[in-house]
């Protein structure tokens, strides 16, 4: 089992390495380069050459990649092109904000999704199951900004319960922060809950068709008892995987939702960087997002190995 897990973790690290190459390469293959992109049409060949030298662009690509990557894993992402500030220092508070938002949403979403999924599975085919099904299908097919703006329209503008923009400051109290971030957190929650809920429901239901469940019913146990004692422990593995995968999805959903609510997180930071074509910022954010994504995916795999006895033996 340990061997399977170690292999999986090493594979994750290799993926991260490959992804970092891809991110770096994606920003290299453009016609022209960063210098001409930043300076624009009016650049003379002289200033262009000087700027290239300043950025170190006159050296070969693989050397720049190695330098960038070795610095990046030590937390040094260099300075932003637009304001010359150190990227790590400007990114850290934004990263914390994003983590706060994502954690907030996850805290609501995970218990809600698993709970409702189980309720829907217990009441399969009854009205509550149908309602849950329709609502979650709608939540999946609707764009996140639509949910976001709807929530703002009703809860911030019409009812005035929450602020419409989630501006947070460094020295904001915890209670106030929870209040201000409530709307984006709920939007994110709706997004990921639907996926998790449907997966929870279907994995509980697929276990329900197993012979030993039929046996439990034939013994005369109640439906609730069969589900909680016999079905749920075996449905745990796919549910845990789905939760971890959806937390990864949450990391991405954050980009759009932060823009809707003007929330100062890393998603907005990246979108800002992209509109200003600030290459080091884009690379840094891309690496952070991809890193979080890979870590959560690897965690999902490792957890599913841990909880599933059949996967513990290495093949």
């Amino acid at each position: 089992m340990l061997r399977t897990i170690v292999i999986r973790v090493v594979l994750g690290l290799l993926t991260l390495l490959a992804v970092s190459i891809l991110i770096f390469a994606a920003t290299e293959i453009l016609p022209g380069d960063v210098a001409s992109a930043v300076l624009g049409q009016g650049a003379t060949p002289d200033t262009l050459a000087q700027f290239r030298h300043e950025l170190g662009l006159d050296r070969p690509g693989y050397i720049r990649y190695l330098e960038w990557f070795t610095h990046a894993i030590r937390g040094d992402f260099g300075a932003a092109l637009t304001n010359k500030r150190d990227i790590l220092t400007s990114m850290t508070p934004k990263f914390e904000n994003t983590m706060f938002l994502a954690g907030y949403a996850a805290l609501i979403a995970v218990p809600l999704a698993v709970g409702m999924g189980i309720v829907a599975a217990i009441n399969e085919g009854k009205w509550i199951d149908r309602v849950v099904n329709i609502v979650s299908l709608a939540a999946i097919s609707v764009p996140e900004f639509f949910i976001g703006y709807l929530l703002i329209f009703f809860f911030a503008v019409q009812l005035g319960w929450f602020p419409s923009l989630s501006t947070v400051f460094m020295d904001m109290g915890f209670a106030e922060r929870v209040h201000v971030v409530a709307l984006p957190a709920v939007t994110l929650t709706l997004l990921v809950t639907a996926h998790m809920l449907r997966m929870t429901r279907s994995s509980v239901l697929s276990i329900m068709s197993q012979p030993y469940i039929e046996m439990a019913f034939l013994k005369g146990l109640t439906r609730t008892r069969v589900i909680f004692v016999h079905a749920l422990p075996n449905a745990a593995a796919p549910i845990i995987t789905v939760i971890a995968l959806n937390l990864a999805y949450l990391i991405v959903g954050v980009v759009v939702i932060e823009t809707v609510f003007v929330y100062p997180g890393i998603g907005q930071f990246m979108v800002d960087g992209v509109t200003k074509r600030d290459l080091p910022v884009i690379q840094a954010c891309g690496l952070v997002f991809a890193g979080a994504f890979i870590i959560l995916n690897t965690t999902a795999d490792v957890l599913s190995i841990l909880v599933n006895p059949r996967l513990r033996k290495s093949r």
Partner: protein, 277 residues
């Protein structure tokens, strides 16, 4: 009424109706839109009235007309992206399945790495370098999305290449291209039809999200995601302006999803009816 010999259930009819209306509007936008997509005809964010059924946008253009023209660009771009992504993904997927171990390994590992970067983040990185012209936008999303199609096409084709008739074709000396075209492709397509609808939904939302972030379809072209972005601030004043294009996006995706659900339920039928699709 029957379509392709199948009777659509009520939900599928709702989906067909929604998609039909949007496609109609998209095709005939210049003839049925009350105003042009780029003319300022009234004050900024004027309320819905008889003259402007949905009100006007941030620079006084008629929202209804822009939603109609937006259907053109948004649906058009998403459709072209999906078609391209399917061509690329299917060809690559089948190539991986029939081309031998080395080809398969190389293609699959590249796709693995691409899939381990969140798609939106990847698209942002590429678009930031190439700029968001329509062509780069469509190409970028198509290439990124083809990774998903590749996975499915490869899995489907893998199951087909081991079947007897492919073996028979090989033994009687048919070329690789002939086998792909005559034996594998016709049999791989039916399970991929519903996937086309799902990928369309995904690409559609993806284009809308990118435009919403300001990196997708660029003004002056009207598109739904960009319209939500332009009018986003209006929501704080209690105006509904950004809700209309957002609702159009939501309705379109729900409509396509309803149709896909129906097709999926046909394909899932045990009678083997899927082969006719």
């Amino acid at each position: 009424m029957r379509i392709f010999g199948y009777k659509p259930p009520f939900t599928a009819w709702v989906g067909i109706f929604i998609v039909g209306v949007f496609v109609f509007v998209a095709i005939f936008a210049p003839w049925i839109a009350p105003y042009s997509e780029s003319d300022s005809v009234a004050d900024t964010w004027s309320a819905p009235s008889a003259a402007y059924l949905l009100g006007t946008d941030n620079i006084g253009r008629d929202l209804l007309s822009r939603v109609m023209y937006g259907a053109r660009t948004t649906i058009g771009v998403a459709l072209m992206t999906t078609i391209l992504s399917f061509l690329l993904g299917t060809v690559m997927g089948i190539w991986a399945a029939v081309g031998g171990r080395v080809v398969d390994q190389v293609l699959s590992r590249i796709v693995d790495v691409m899939l381990s970067i969140p798609l939106l983040v990847f698209a942002l990185i590429i678009l930031s370098m190439f700029g968001s012209s329509l062509v780069t936008l469509i190409l970028t999303i198509a290439v990124l999305d083809s990774t998903r199609v590749f996975r499915l096409a490869r899995a489907v084709a893998m199951n087909l290449v081991v079947l007897e008739y492919v073996e028979a074709a090989r033994l009687r000396g048919e070329g690789l291209w002939w086998i792909i075209r005559r034996e594998i492709l016709p049999n791989a397509l039916p399970p991929m039809i519903s996937e086309f609808g799902l990928r369309f939904c995904f690409n559609f939302l993806f284009v809308a999200s990118l435009s919403f972030l300001g990196l997708g379809i660029q003004p002056p072209l009207a598109d739904w995601g960009g319209m939500v972005r332009d009018n986003g601030r209006a929501i704080s004043f209690g105006l509904t302006a950004p809700l209309w294009p957002a609702m159009a996006i939501a309705l379109m995706t729900i409509g396509v999803n309803l149709i896909v659900d129906w097709i999926l339920s046909i394909n899932a039928r045990p009678s083997g009816a899927s082969a006719e699709m």
